[in-house]
Amino acid sequence: MTATLDAAVPLTGRRIPGSSVARAMAGNRKALAGLLILVFFVVLAAVPDWIAPGDPAASRYGRSLGASAHHLFGTTGFGQDVAAQVVHGTRPILLIAVLSGVFATLLSVLIGVSAAYLGGLWDDLLSLFTDVILVIPVLPLVVVIAGYFAHRSLTVMIAALVVTGWSYGARQLRAQALSLRGRDFLEAARVRGERRSYIIVVELLPNMTSLIIANFMNVALYSVLTASGLEFIGLGDTSSVDWGTMLYWAQNQAALQTDQYLWAAVPGLCIALLSTSFALLNNAFDEISNPALRPVRRLRG
């Protein structure tokens, strides 16, 4: 569908990069579901004080209350409102996901496309470097790095996630750039005498948009899971309000065994929902960049 529409666009007007991506997404149910969940969390992250006013960390209520009209998900063992903490915890995790996603994706593009474009010895070295980083298990490495930082901040967390999270994307982008490299439209640009930087930025990258976005989603997914995992074992800032830290305290206070299961269930469900939304979007963009994976029903008709 998309391909025929694109071909019908008059040659005089320059095609806006990403327009086909937007169109393909609107027709993909998985992408739509992922987007809806993401928008929900973005709203929570944007205006937490309107939704749940007051300091979520203050112990203002009775301890370990059950769910009620006043406390939608009950209160914690310290007398904080679980719902309010969940709402306020959205911003830090989204920030971690988006920032590490952006920086790691930039790094992937830089290294992956350079490897494909420079070729020869550079390609060998960069690919080898990518593969080495790729197979080293991330969490133990990040745990060791975080273990050495006495003062744990968002910056340290994001830096660790970026350093360890770029390699898979670099590998994929290199493969796609390699397969695009020999195409006629790039050859034409080269014959026209365009500079290499122009070819890469204006001709090559727009054609890799959906894979780049898929990679962003992948890093965001991985960052949400790794960051909350680290916070859960107490390697985050334990005085801050975020989902992983809530789970840390819930586990610390044996919430499951003492009938306060909402304290553990709700923040974990939020982590699962947010990462599912990134997983769905990642999957959808994978399908956009690789049409072979799309559902076949329409073809059989």
């Binding site: 998985k30 298990p137 273990g147 590998r171 899971l225 974990g268 699962a272």
Partner: protein
């Protein structure tokens, strides 16, 4: 053979990289084993005892960085990772050695099971593409890849141990049993392994299903599959011997890429279940600022993952005739 040799070279290179990262981290980042040990003894450690401890921990360094590095490599080759801060004066390798069998049993067996099961489901799902099974399974497994391991673990505990006290929630076996080949101990170990291994299975299987399905979908469009159909071969034969065998190759590469993530998740699962493996030990080492232990465990987990990758490479060499001809 050339392929296997090249992958062996990659294994050695990655091993060296991991060793070097491990060497660099404590020297680049703030925090040191001696300050944490000092805090533990409330600053009462001074003079000769301090010197002795420093020598034991290997931080009395006035040597050049190169000498330190060579000594470090030599010690690693002899599995000598110094003394643990947490269990001082026990050696790190002794502690780690006692945790290793637990993790190999739990994570090793479960990962192989998840890979085999997931790859099978992926192959069947692609084979029946467009069918009812294929409409339901992929979205379900996409969602499964988004589930945090540790949260799945907590929810399983909630349902199968707290709400219905069917299974144990923590530790590797019941207390008071003598470890060894006796029925009581083995059944207790198996019982304790059920929830952690189901957790790892649920959280990791989606990855293998999706990789296999996507690769199988591409393979099924190949001419040799059409040829097999034209010859009138039975469907089962085409599916496994023609399509799945070839579609497995990207799956094995995927295994090499994703195994690190699975092991990372397993670390957290062990922590939730207080399972006496290396993952739980790693978290405890961080909590107690036991730096020598942390580093040995990071190294051990990395080597285990690298060995798994090497095994996947060898499997690739067995399955793919391309790799056997010299390139």
């Amino acid at each position: 053979m050339k392929f296997v040799l090249r992958r062996l070279g990659f294994f050695l290179l990655t091993l060296w990289a991991a060793l070097t990262i491990n060497f660099a981290i404590p020297r680049l980042l703030p925090g040191s084993p001696i300050t944490s040990l000092m805090a533990r003894y409330h600053g009462r450690l001074q003079g000769a005892p301090l010197k002795a401890v420093e020598a034991e921990l290997g931080v009395d360094n006035h040597d050049s960085l190169l000498t330190q590095y060579l000594t470090y490599l030599k010690n690693c080759a002899r599995f000598d990772f110094g003394k643990s801060v947490q269990y001082f004066p026990e050696s790190v390798s002794h502690q780690v050695g006692s945790a290793l069998p637990w993790t190999l049993g739990l994570v090793g067996v479960t990962t192989v099971l998840a890979f085999v099961l997931g790859t099978g489901i992926g192959a069947v799902s692609a084979w029946r593409r467009g069918g009812r099974l294929d409409a339901v399974l992929p979205p379900v497994f996409v969602v499964a890849t988004g589930l945090p391991y540790f949260w799945v673990a907590m929810m399983l505990i909630l349902v199968f141990a707290v709400a219905h006290p069917w299974l144990p929630t923590a530790f590797g076996s019941d207390e008071g049993l003598t470890a060894g080949f006796n029925a009581d101990f083995i059944s207790s170990v198996l019982q304790h392994a059920i929830l952690p291994s189901v957790t790892i299975l649920i959280s990791s299987i989606g990855v293998w299903v999706l990789i296999m399905r996507n690769s199988m979908v591409t393979t099924l469009a190949e001419d040799y599959v059409r040829m097999a159909r034209a010859k009138g071969l039975p469907g089962r034969r085409i599916m496994w011997d023609y399509a799945a065998r070839n579609a497995m190759l990207p799956s094995l590469t995927g295994f090499a890429i994703c195994i690190g993530g699975v092991v990372s998740g397993a670390v957290l699962v062990e922590y939730v279940f207080a399972y006496p493996g290396v993952g739980y030990m790693l978290v405890q080492a961080v909590e107690n600022e036991d730096f020598p232990m942390m580093q040995a465990l990071f190294l051990l987990i990395t080597v285990a993952v690298l060995l798994a990758v090497l095994l996947a490479d060898i499997a690739t060499a067995v399955l793919d005739p391309h790799t056997r001809t010299a390139r």
